[in-house]
């Protein structure tokens, strides 16, 4: 190992807490997006199982709408269109929308579509008594969350201080362009090490549940 490589490893080590903090923001954004999106998507799924055809049609229309809006565009839409600050009615407290919340709301739109489609099926199975089939929703939901974790990296485009954005900060702060490639690869590795094992686990759970269904 030559001097240059040692310097690179040292720099990565020094900046690791900062970068991990950024990755925590990615996970926070993804979890929030899942919570918001699942809640709204669940509402749409319930409406889709309604006996009134008009309600079903409305729900399908909204679901189709959420599918047609790219999350990156929606992110820009929210960040520019929401007021940067507003007063809570009746008080003198001003509140703003932090970037991570905007990113969560934007990514939630994809989760709404996903939940609406998948939960409709799960709820239908549940009502028909196929409880174990309905449980398949859980591993697919978790796998989808990992997709959202990866998608949360686009929040850097609107300046949210998550992992990708912090990589750029590190390169700028050290003023060393030679650090660019190692830092980006390091961040890639973080994403992979988080997402790959969980995806494999969820696949196993899915297979186990599906196998359990056939035997029962």
């Amino acid at each position: 190992m030559n001097g240059h490589e040692t310097a690179v490893w040292q720099a990565l080590w020094v900046w690791t807490p900062f970068l991990l903090g950024g990755f925590a923001v990615n996970i926070l954004i993804a979890v929030n997006a899942m919570v918001i999106g699942t809640f709204l998507g669940w509402g749409l799924a319930v409406l889709r199982l309604s006996v009134k055809p008009r309600v079903v049609r409305l729900s399908l229309l909204i679901t189709a709408f959420t599918r047609n809006i790219p999350t990156i565009v929606f992110q820009f839409y929210l960040v520019f269109m929401l007021p940067s600050e507003f007063k809570l009615p009746g008080t003198s407290i001003t509140v703003g929308f932090p970037g991570w919340l905007i990113a969560s709301m934007a990514l939630a739109i994809a989760v709404v579509g996903f939940t609406s489609d998948n939960l409709t099926k799960a709820l239908r199975d549940w009502r028909q008594g196929d409880h174990s089939v309905a449980f398949l929703f859980i591993p697919s939901w978790t796998s989808y969350m990992l997709i959202i974790v990866i998608a949360s990296s686009t929040a850097s485009i609107i300046g949210v201080s998550e992992l990708v954005s912090r990589c750029n900060t590190v390169v700028n702060a050290t003023g060393r362009t030679s650090l660019m490639l190692p830092v980006y690869l390091y961040a890639c590795a973080l994403f992979f090490l988080f997402c790959y094992p969980l995806t494999q686990l969820m696949r196993k759970v899915h297979t186990r549940l599906a196998a359990g269904m056939q035997t029962s």
Partner: protein, 537 residues
């Protein structure tokens, strides 16, 4: 009968008079011009605190670019020049009081100021807002400043607009000195300030190596100002013609160079405009019968619907009525940018969808071919492709590897190609997984089944829903290209928005455009899917 005869004569006379006057400008006589000639001196209000436009030299003598302009005006009038030092606060007041004849003192031309003074067109210079940055700063465009810490001085009129249009995280300082030191200490990415002032700083030895490469934003043109009462007089026309000639002959560009200012885009564009010839071989910028410059030669921020014609007139009228600025429809420059962005996005979508299909099909075939090493490699490729953010991989190639490639092979990496490759691998991996899953299901009922190009149709009904979903996703993800400065729709829309301030209009347009694009992509993919399945034996 008599009455109608006299009416005819009057009408004929009017026609004759118009005929005589066409092509020759009728200007009101100017009281001020008469006074200047009578006294034999032109009194110009200039600055002495704004280097290099107006300053005091080491001998205490006033000089500067604007002083040169004043001297040239006096020379053309054949009178001597008297300079009066004015400040930003009193320059227009001095004009109103009649103390000075003309003001050439870094006066920004705005709609408000046009109510209290006559701003002579064309404008002679322009200033905007830029970023003063450290020598090692790698930020190359405004989009890269989103969310970054930027130093600014309290009370600058542009702080709020810049923060809103570029999502800057502004760190406020009391004065320019502190803000610049904060840049030096790496406490912020750059200092947001007027570009002409920053250009002055960059000439100082203290800031050697510092730079301000970002194109100025919120550009305000500078105008030669005369009294409000002199509007439409010989004096205004004389100054306007002089300014036009300065642009045509390159006098302004030459003075800019002489004062060691970096070449401004504004002067270069103006020179091109004022020397351009129409399809009939005549200069585009000549005064019309009423003495006005044509709309094409005027600054579009001062145009209203009565000045323009055709589509632009309709667009400006709509803007005046509703406040909605649809510049991407009526303004030819914005329109061509918008259409180019749209075309780039459509091209990106097509290439990414095709690329993903190729990667997916090829990957699935390799895995199924069960070639010892290659199958393993393909599986890992697929895993890594799916589990790393495409944006990060794009950065790895565009920023990390491009410099290495440039040094070793001398090849520059085209960002658009990188985006298509990275997104194709990311989505192709998902497509590949859906093919392999479907193969597994088919094999459960038909143990001997192997995926080959010829047996592909068998898995299509099972694989196509998830594969189609992935392909729709990749067409949505093409906007990532804006992060590496590919001029696709998102980056075009944000730059049109930053220049015109029509945030709501552009954001709604963007959302609607994508809605329609994705709608048609979905329809198209469904149709292809049906065709493929319909062709099944």
């Amino acid at each position: 009968m008599k009455a109608s005869w006299s009416q005819w004569v009057v009408a004929l006379c009017i026609v004759c008079l118009q005929g005589v006057h066409a092509g020759e400008v009728v200007a009101k006589p100017s009281e001020r011009l008469a006074l200047i000639k009578q006294r034999g001196a032109l009194i110009v209000g200039v600055k002495t605190d704004y280097a290099p436009f107006g300053t005091l030299n080491s001998a205490g003598q006033p000089e500067g670019l604007e002083h040169d302009l004043a001297a040239d005006v006096a020379r053309r009038l054949g009178v001597s020049l008297t300079k009066v030092s004015v400040t930003g606060a009193n320059r227009l007041q001095r004009l109103e009081e009649g103390v000075v004849d003309v003001v050439i003192a870094t006066t920004g031309d705005t709609v408000e100021r046009r109510k209290i003074a006559t701003m002579v067109e064309p404008n002679y210079y322009a200033s905007g807002v830029t970023l003063f940055m450290r020598p090692d700063q790698s930020i190359a465009d405004w989009a890269a400043t989103r969310g970054q810490k930027i130093c600014a001085t309290q009370g600058s009129y542009f702080n709020r607009a810049m923060a809103e249009r570029f999502l800057l995280d502004l760190q406020m300082f009391n004065n320019a000195r502190d803000a610049k030191l904060a840049v030096k200490d790496r406490r912020c990415v750059g200092y947001l300030f007027d570009n002409t002032a920053i250009q002055g700083d960059l000439l100082l030895p203290e800031w050697a190596g510092y730079k301000a490469p970002l194109p100025p934003q919120l550009v305000t043109p500078w105008a030669v100002a005369i009294s409000r009462r002199e509007q439409g007089t010989e004096l205004e026309y004389f100054l306007g013609d002089t300014l036009a000639e300065w642009h045509r002959t390159g006098f302004l560009v030459e003075r800019e160079r002489a004062w060691r200012l970096p070449p401004s885009q504004f002067l270069a564009d103006m020179r091109t405009l004022w020397t351009s010839l129409g399809s009939d071989g005549k200069p585009v910028c000549v005064r019309d019968a009423e003495g006005r410059w044509p709309a094409a030669c005027r600054n579009r921020i001062f145009l209203n619907s009565t000045d323009a014609s055709g589509l632009r007139r309709l667009g400006l009228w709509w803007k005046e009525q509703t406040g909605m600025d649809l510049s991407f429809v009526y303004d030819s420059y914005d329109r061509s940018r918008f259409l180019l962005g749209l075309a780039t996005t459509v091209l990106l979508m097509v290439l990414c969808v095709l690329g993903s299909i190729v990667v997916g099909v090829a990957g699935a075939l390799v895995v199924e071919a069960r070639i010892p090493v290659l199958t393993r490699v393909a599986r890992w490729f697929c895993n890594i492709g799916r589990m790393t953010p495409p944006l990060l991989v794009i950065y790895v190639f565009v920023f990390g590897l491009s410099s290495a490639l440039m040094h070793t092979v001398g090849v520059a990496v085209e960002p658009m190609v990188v985006v298509v490759l990275c997104l194709s691998v990311y989505t192709g991996s998902s497509v590949m997984v859906s093919f392999l899953e479907a193969t597994k299901v088919v094999r459960a009922s038909e143990p001997g089944y192997r995926l080959r190009l010829l047996t592909f149709k068998q898995i299509l009904p099972l694989a196509s829903p998830s594969a189609t979903a992935a392909l729709i996703n990749v067409s949505k993800a093409t906007m990532m290209a804006s992060a590496v400065a590919v001029p696709e729709l998102l980056s075009v829309v944000t730059s049109i928005m930053a220049e015109n301030g029509n945030v709501a209009v552009m954001m709604n347009t963007l959302l609607l455009t994508f809605f329609v694009l994705i709608f048609f992509t979905t329809r198209l993919l469904d149709w292809v899917d049906r065709m493929l399945r319909g062709g099944m034996p």
